[in-house]
Amino acid sequence: MTAIVRLTRAEFRKLATTRSYPITLIVAVGLALLEVAAVAMAAGRNGVPRLGSAAGTNQMLKLGAICSVAMLVVGIMAAGGEFRHKTIIPAVLISPRRNGLVLAKAIAVGAAGVVLSSLTFGLGLATAVAVLAFRHFHHLPADTWRLYAGSVISGTLFGLIGVALGFITRSTVAAALGAVGWVLFGEIVILGTMAPHLARWLITGASMALTDPAVPGASTLAPTTATAVLSAYALALLAAAVGVLARRDIG
């Protein structure tokens, strides 16, 4: 068995024996169901599209942000928690070539991201279908499966970004504050206002191109381009995490 297979198995065991992943999964699914229910109840009022319209259904299925934020938190806690509890010491003693640690954690969190995002969007979609059927609407917009795939891709890649941030900052709090600060102030407030043409090439912009319904005439990236851009950010940050961890003294 190769080192990376062994380390990845250990990372799956870590995820299975901490409370953060199942709790985040439950919260994400709960928020998705609440979002669907809230949009259904507000449909046709206060500018919310009416129930049964393509725009209304798409509004109910804007669940990608929940998947992405949830997996960002899981990734940050999985990597930052190693430093918080000093489990990074036995981990590095077992795997002194530290790039293997980062890769194994990225694989495990990536797989966890597929599961969490699929379940969150899937259960949200099932709820939306049930609500629509109750009101005698029996069709879904053509965008639905693109949104499903986009939410899973975005959630998974945000998990990898979380892993990288956790290893780079060595702190769950610093990584979470840094990520929220960057998205809210760096991307949305500053660049979104001052250079909106750049915003779509950033992490949030690329994620929204995957998880939000297509708007005719909007300047968002195509889904394949957005996937490539978001993947590039995740890989670049993971490479930075490998570099930082390799040079850093542990303990």
Binding site: I89, L93, I94, P96, G251
Partner: protein
């Protein structure tokens, strides 16, 4: 065999380890002694690849730690007795470590039995006493049935029964032909355990050799007297 040659580690203007050299041979328990801040833990961390030395080398059986393939099979290390996720059980912690090192899933139960924690296997680590965490740290080090053991302050937190148990275990492990390096500042306890000592102060070696030979050559009654004679001599040299 552990070999440290001209090891130097600096943190800014502070030289934590200064041109330190010594050998640790198999079949004996070697005490690595020195006052707080002498550089013991830094030396062990450099030996185990956790920190990069500024000069010199530290090798195990001729290899740097980070060049060993699957090092947990050769070297068992216990550096800190608080390296656990508090929400996991003792058994879960060991299963994770065993998975990562490719060790049989039966081995965690064996080492828990060996360190006297079999009854606490399902207890959350956060609820274990300091002495029990010390035993769990040792269990982690023993997972790979290693030839070489590197233990930093393994007696901390143990009650008198635990100290006696640890002493007997270390002697048994050395008797099996393993290389055992134990850092400590609990001289009276270590005196009953070690065959050889390496004494350091301010990052430099002060003495190295069998306890009996060193105490005889320094006309000391015991290891504690020898230690203070050596440390005081070193202070006089520095001043």
């Amino acid at each position: 065999m552990i070999r440290v040659e001209h090891l130097t580690k600096r943190y800014g203007a502070v030289t934590a380890v200064d041109d330190l050299s010594f050998d640790v041979t198999p079949g004996r328990v070697t005490g690595f002694l020195g006052p707080n801040g002498a550089g013991k833990t830094t030396t062990l961390r450099a030996l185990l690849g956790l920190t990069t030395p500024d000069g010199g080398t530290a090798t195990i059986n001729g290899c740097r730690y980070r060049d060993l393939s699957n090092p947990a099979r050769y070297v068992g290390a216990a550096l800190d007795n608080d390296c656990f996720s508090p929400g996991r059980s003792a058994s879960q912690h060991l299963q994770i470590m065993a998975s990562a090192a490719g060790i049989s899933s039966r081995r965690p139960a064996e080492v828990l039995e060996l360190v006297g924690l079999a009854d606490s296997a399902r207890r959350k680590v956060g609820g274990l006493s300091l002495g029990m965490r010390q035993r769990l740290t040792l269990a982690t080090a023993l997972l790979g049935d290693p030839e070489v053991l590197v233990l930093d302050e393994p007696l901390n937190g143990l009650d008198p029964d635990g100290i006696r148990w640890m002493r007997e275990l270390l002697r048994k492990l050395a008797h099996e032909g393993r290389t055992v390096l134990v850092s400590s500042h609990l001289l009276a306890e270590v005196a009953h355990t070690v065959d050889n000592v390496v004494v350091i102060a301010r990052g430099r070696q002060v003495a190295e050799g069998p306890v009996a030979a060193l105490t005889a050559s320094h006309h000391s009654d015991n290891l504690e007297d020898l230690f203070f004679d050596l440390i005081n001599d070193r202070k006089l040299e520095v001043h």
